[in-house]
Amino acid sequence: MYDFDWSPIPRAIPFLWAGMKVTLQITVVAMLVGIGLGTVIAIMRLSKNRVVSALSAGYVNLFRAVPLIMVLLWFFLIVPSLIVRIFNLPRTANVQVTSAMVAFSLFQAAYYAEIIRAGIQSVKAGQIGAALALGMSYGQAMRLVVLPQAFRNMTPLLLTQTIILFQDTSLVYVSAVRDFFGAANIVGTRDGRIVELILFAGAVYFVICFVLSTLVKRWQDRLKVAA
């Protein structure tokens, strides 16, 4: 049986926590920007203008057709040099984290957009008609009547997608960005206890995601009863 030695973990907590902060940073930023951008893309997709609709569809289909790792590699190899060149900045770690946030935001936006689009379409067709009949403009109707209802319906799905995003941030492993999992790996390799650290990281992710997804499920069940 393997000889477990968990001692490096308590000592490394500050280091691991720093990594977790990066993970949370990326998750929160990508979620907010992703949902914002996703809403715009979803509305574009539902537009009667064929060009606008096609552009939006193209964006969504492109980002959903490629692995996230590919997108991250694209961003880490190409974008930092672009940013450095455009802004004449020194190549610091911050640029890397920013690239990661941009990459995740753009990627997640494609997935959020599909959820939001379905959410908007699930609002009864008569609602927008009723709003327009009251004299609201299309923009007002969307903002005051359709989107609030749509978001209430799709919040569980958006949250589930965010939990997936939280898990996906571990893929920054392929870059120089040090997130929670990256930090765990560094500690594990440095102290020769990679097995314990990987299992520890797995357990942490499991607890966080399991609790969050259970809460989302409870919320969904309550919504179903209320409907």
Binding site: M70, L73, F181, N185, I198, L199, Y205, F210
Partner: protein, 246 residues
């Protein structure tokens, strides 16, 4: 930005007359093999677990539920590292030593296949469960009323319809599987995404390399979606509108 697509025909450092195009195709082959092997595990294991999640037997239901929760709440990358770095240490020494003796590529391929297979299996489990639960309760009752045992009812009545119903979501899972196979690059397997990185490193032609790899992933997606459309057509039940009866 000048693009040079001929770089693919230039000879690669691995020698023997291989071009960068050959490298790309080698990566593609590994991605395809990895995906197919994982899919077999995922479909078989996921289906069994999905059936367990619909059975009245609490033990089987519990096992399947634990499986789904564990494999859906741990990131794929972490799971891969567990299969590749941790499992060889935790299994009985005989098995562990055999694994460590394997040549590196086989070891990486094996870990990746198991990882991807069980990860995707959890998702397929939920699809199969949803498919079975979408059938009207009367179908199960009708099967039992004729004298079928529970197993016969699943085999002849519930599963044939459930699988037909879930062909579209299964197609999505296949596409996801191919995309997820890219994580294998992190442990060193030279599949398509890893090859993309190699190409950039050796040719310094980032745009061409990434465009080619991206196009290949898109092509794989289209092939899968096309194939599953054909499957859906073949499996269609005359006169039946998808959605699970009245």
């Amino acid at each position: 930005m000048d693009l040079n697509w001929h770089v693919f025909l230039e000879p690669a450092p691995s020698g023997g007359g291989a071009t960068y195009l050959d490298w790309t195709i080698a990566g593609l082959k590994i991605t395809v093999m990895l995906s197919m092997a994982s899919w077999v595990i995922a479909l078989l294991w996921g289906s069994v677990m999905g059936v367990f999640r619909t059975m009245p037997n609490r033990v089987l239901y519990g096992i399947a539920t634990v499986y789904v929760e564990v494999f859906r709440n741990i990131p794929l990358l972490v799971q891969l590292f567990i299969w590749y770095f941790v499992m060889p240490e935790l299994v009985p020494p005989a098995l562990g030593n055999w694994y460590k003796q394997l040549d590196p590529v086989t070891a990486m391929f094996l870990a990746s296949t198991l990882c991807l297979g069980f990860f995707t299996g959890a998702r397929i489990c939920e699809q199969v469960r949803a498919g079975i639960e979408s059938l009207s309760k009367g179908q199960k009752a009708a099967g039992l009323a004729l004298g079928f045992s529970l197993r016969q009812t699943y085999n002849y009545v519930l599963l044939p319809m459930a699988f037909r119903i879930i062909v579209p979501p299964l197609a999505s899972e296949m596409v996801n599987l191919v995309k997820n196979s890219a994580v294998a690059s992190t442990i060193g397997l030279l599949e398509l995404a890893a090859m993309g990185r190699q190409l950039v490193d050796y040719t310094a032609r980032a745009y061409e390399s990434f465009t080619a790899i991206t196009l290949l992933y898109i092509a794989l997606n289209l092939i899968i979606l096309g194939f599953m459309s054909w499957v859906e057509l073949k499996a269609r039940v005359p006169g039946f509108i998808s959605g699970g009866g009245r």
